[in-house]
């Protein structure tokens, strides 16, 4: 600051502390700090990435095994364009490819197919793993991969085991009802969480409608 230049003898009066710091020092402080911070964050990101991806994979795998009732063997199908393939597309990061998982019991019979689907719920996106039999559209169950619904109400779509169990054996397309379900196409919704319940039903309906033709097309080509 220029007013310091003319003050002689006595120390400069109550100037703001450090107000005479030259600009290059300010820039250097910020540049150095930014460089250190950037290097540290990049380093930690690289160190933690494998563990974060492992956790995400384990979550998907756990959900698949849950909705297919602990299958003895799992096959993975890869979606290329709108076409399912048993072999992964070459030269593509497998994590980026949409997959379907086919479960078999110990006799080798197919127990169902698990696919991932997500749509907006009440608060945020609801991500589900949905297990169903492509031949009959009967559900083997669903598991929640991610949701941020209201605690105590909407989050029952994940935490209320009674509600989750209601979907087993139901046949898509489903319809929600506030009373007890009377046929295989109806599911009783949660009191106080109508929108979250409907979101689950809609995600399942859309996923089955989307995936069934793909799976049947693959079956025609040469069985699953």
């Amino acid at each position: 600051m220029s007013d310091h230049a003319h003050s002689h003898g006595a120390p400069p009066p109550a100037a703001a502390p450090g107000s005479s710091t030259p600009a290059w020092r300010l820039v250097a402080t910020l540049a150095l700090g930014g460089a250190f911070a950037g290097a540290l964050v990049a380093n930690v990101y690289q160190k933690t990435l494998p563990a974060i991806q492992r956790a995400a994979d384990a979550k998907i795998d756990g959900a698949v095994r849950e909705v297919l009732a602990a299958p003895a063997r799992l096959d993975t199908l890869y979606l290329i364009g709108d076409h399912l393939s048993r072999t992964p597309p070459p030269g593509v990061e497998l994590r980026q490819v949409t997959k379907a998982f086919v479960g078999f019991d110990d006799t080798g019979a197919r127990t169902g197919v698990a696919v991932e689907a997500s749509e907006p719920g009440f608060a945020d996106e609801v991500r589900l793993m949905i297990g169903f039999n492509p031949a009959t559209s009967a559900l083997t169950g669903y598991a929640v991969l991610g949701q941020k619904e209201t605690p105590g109400l909407g989050d029952k779509i994940e935490k209320d085991t009674v509600f989750v169990a209601r979907f087993r054996g139901k046949v898509a397309p489903l319809k929600g009802t506030k009373n007890s379900a009377t046929d295989a196409g109806m599911v009783q919704t949660i009191t106080g969480a109508t929108i979250s319940s409907r979101a689950v039903i809609q995600i399942i309906n859309h996923a089955v409608a989307l995936w069934q033709p793909r799976l049947m097309a693959l079956e025609k080509e040469g069985g699953t």
Binding site: A16, T21, V41, T48, A56, P151, G152, G192
Partner: protein
């Protein structure tokens, strides 16, 4: 940068606004009790409201906040003489944001479920006013040992207040503690306790108790001197 600890001498020059000298254990205790960031300073109430519906989330949030507080206070105190005061807030936020990112990634890698439950509130520790408040009021003006002592105390004070709130809300709102059912199947959970109104109510009652205790203490002291 050269070893900054070497620059810390026994005869600290006077820093305007610096806290009065005190031994480190008193700095720790002050954060837990008479300067508790939540119950006395009323700072950091947003994360307090947001994550206090289950005890596991609260403890994880408390630990993450304490980690960021200690790390950033130590660094800010070590470099306090090299940080020009014009850019100090920028540098503080830079240091805090770096520690928050490290905490967020570490939490996601080691405890994916807790990280998911806390959601955006871990990255939001950056704007937790307790941390910038302590950096500006304390860590930027004292030697590293005291800065760390203060950060530990403030972190523990925050975790303690958060845990009290979480315990009440999870117990009444879900009938459980740390996910284990304690009140039995015959207890009907007060769902509203895990929702925002329950948080405000519990916090209000907590402040009421603190206020009542404070007035009573003052009254006793007055009677004793009279």
């Amino acid at each position: 940068m050269t070893a900054p600890t070497a620059a810390v001498s026994k005869d600290e020059p006077f820093v305007p606004g610096a806290p009065p000298p005190a031994p480190p254990w008193l700095d720790v205790w002050s954060g837990i009790a008479q300067n508790n960031p939540v119950l006395v300073q009323m700072l950091g109430l947003c994360p307090l409201m947001a994550v206090s519906n289950s005890l596991a989330n609260g403890i994880a949030m408390g630990i993450a906040t304490t980690f960021v507080l200690v790390g950033s206070s130590l660094l800010i105190s070590m470099f306090r003489k090299y940080i020009a005061s014009e850019v100090r807030l920028t540098v503080y936020i830079l240091i805090i944001a770096t520690f928050v990112t490290v905490a967020d990634l570490t939490l996601a890698a080691l405890f994916p479920d807790i990280s998911k439950a806390l959601g955006p509130f871990v990255p939001l520790i950056v704007v937790n006013c307790i941390i910038l408040g302590r950096a500006e009021a304390f860590a930027g003006k004292v030697a590293p040992l005291r800065a760390v002592a203060d950060a530990i105390g403030m972190g523990m004070g925050f975790t303690l207040a958060l845990s009290v709130l979480c315990t009440v809300r999870e117990l009444l709102g879900s009938g459980s503690l740390l996910g284990f059912n304690v009140l039995g199947p015959r207890f009907e959970p007060w769902v509203f306790m895990v929702m925002p109104p329950g948080g405000f109510l519990t916090l209000g009652i907590l402040f009421l108790i603190m206020g009542w205790y404070g007035t009573r203490k003052a009254q006793r002291a007055k009677e004793a001197t009279a």
